[in-house]
């Protein structure tokens, strides 16, 4: 007789409830496998998101037993608490249906933090030479692997408590651009991150760093932004 997992899945929108499903417990099973099994065998109306299912795209992020994680990279054996799993949508984002959240606010804050590259040259200018060992480049490289999965955003209590807060992912990206010698947008960028809801709202809880599946450290990036913004403010380069 195979063992069974006792699985609670969130059904509904912001209003809704957890519904219970019994799922066969297999070896080498991921939480995404569990959700997929429910949708295919028990309830075709279950909505959830995934794409690559190999830990590269970040689409499958959900709240598993209270923690935001990539479900395709979460082995059931590691998290099933006595054979029980509670799976819900990512926190801090509006729920569209069941396990699917609306990522729009996340990306709007990304834009607001000026997390986009502002070119400084044309195609006929010589290429900027940047040594890989350049300290600013190293700082940017350490933070550049973000794939916008929103796990850090879901883990962050400051995001939860302060609706103006741009959040760890957006600020982490802003930090990589602040360190990019080719970028010309620092005036606007530092002004935005120095304003209300910017980097200075971070309390260094470090939930972001703890949960990032790519082992990034937004707290450190934000600390760097705090320094740069303060310097820019002192030197008069930005005004509030």
């Amino acid at each position: 007789m195979t063992a069974t997992l006792d699985v609670l899945l969130w059904r509904g929108t912001a209003e809704g409830s957890y519904r219970r499903y019994q799922v066969p417990w297999r070896d080498n099973q991921t939480v995404l496998d569990v959700v997929t099994w429910v949708q295919r065998n028990l309830d075709a109306t279950l909505s959830y998101r995934f794409a690559c299912r190999v830990g590269m795209c970040g689409s499958c992020a959900m709240t598993v037993n209270g923690r935001p994680r990539w479900t395709c990279r979460t082995h059931v054996s590691k998290v099933a608490d006595g054979g029980r799993l509670t799976i819900g949508p990512l926190q801090n984002l509006p729920v569209i249906k069941d396990l699917v959240t609306d990522m729009q606010p996340f990306f709007e804050k990304w834009q607001k933090a000026k997390g986009t590259f502002a070119p400084s040259k044309t195609r006929i200018d010589p290429i900027e030479t940047i040594a890989p060992s350049n300290p600013a480049r190293l700082a940017a490289d350490a933070a550049i692997e973000c794939i916008n999965c929103a796990v850090c955003y879901a883990a962050c209590d400051t995001v939860r408590w302060n609706e103006n807060y741009l959040g760890p992912a957006a600020l982490n990206r802003a930090w990589t651009l602040v360190n990019d010698a080719r970028d010309a947008g620092n005036g606007e960028r530092l002004t935005t991150v120095a304003a209300d809801g910017g980097c200075h709202a971070c309390h260094s809880h470090q939930s972001c760093q703890e949960h990032c599946p790519v082992a990034l450290n937004p707290t450190a990036s934000i600390a760097g932004l705090k320094r740069r913004a303060a310097q820019a403010y002192f030197s008069g380069a930005i005004k509030l």
Binding site: W161, N162, A194, D196, G198, H200, A201, A230, Y233, L240
Partner: protein
């Protein structure tokens, strides 16, 4: 929290580090079983040094605490924007007023 408030809060925090350590040493030195008002006032009355020390301390905390309070109000209560500013500033004024009164009370001869 923006860069201006952040700087005021962090800088007053840094200023208060040595003030606080000194204050703790003073408390430890002065406080023992049965210590009296005369013990305190005998040292503080007419002292310009204590006036400056505690005057600075009061000024710093009257800036530092309201900024922290404002953040807590914004994050943990329904108060937003202007109303949290008003409460925080009001608290700062209360701290400054009571604080300077206390300094005067122990320092004036």
């Amino acid at each position: 929290m923006n860069v201006r408030l952040y700087l005021w809060q962090r800088l007053t925090a840094a200023l208060m580090l040595p003030l606080l350590l000194t204050h703790l040493v003073v408390i430890f030195y002065a406080m023992r079983k049965g210590f009296s008002a005369a013990d305190i006032l005998g040292r503080t009355r007419g002292s310009i040094a204590w006036a400056l020390f505690y005057g600075t301390f009061v000024s710093a905390v009257a800036v530092h605490a309201p900024i922290g309070l404002r953040t807590v109000l914004i994050e943990w209560t329904p108060l937003r924007g202007r109303s949290s500013d008003v409460v925080a500033i009001g608290f700062g004024i209360v701290l400054a007023a009571l604080g300077f009164r206390a300094v005067a009370a122990v320092v004036l001869p």
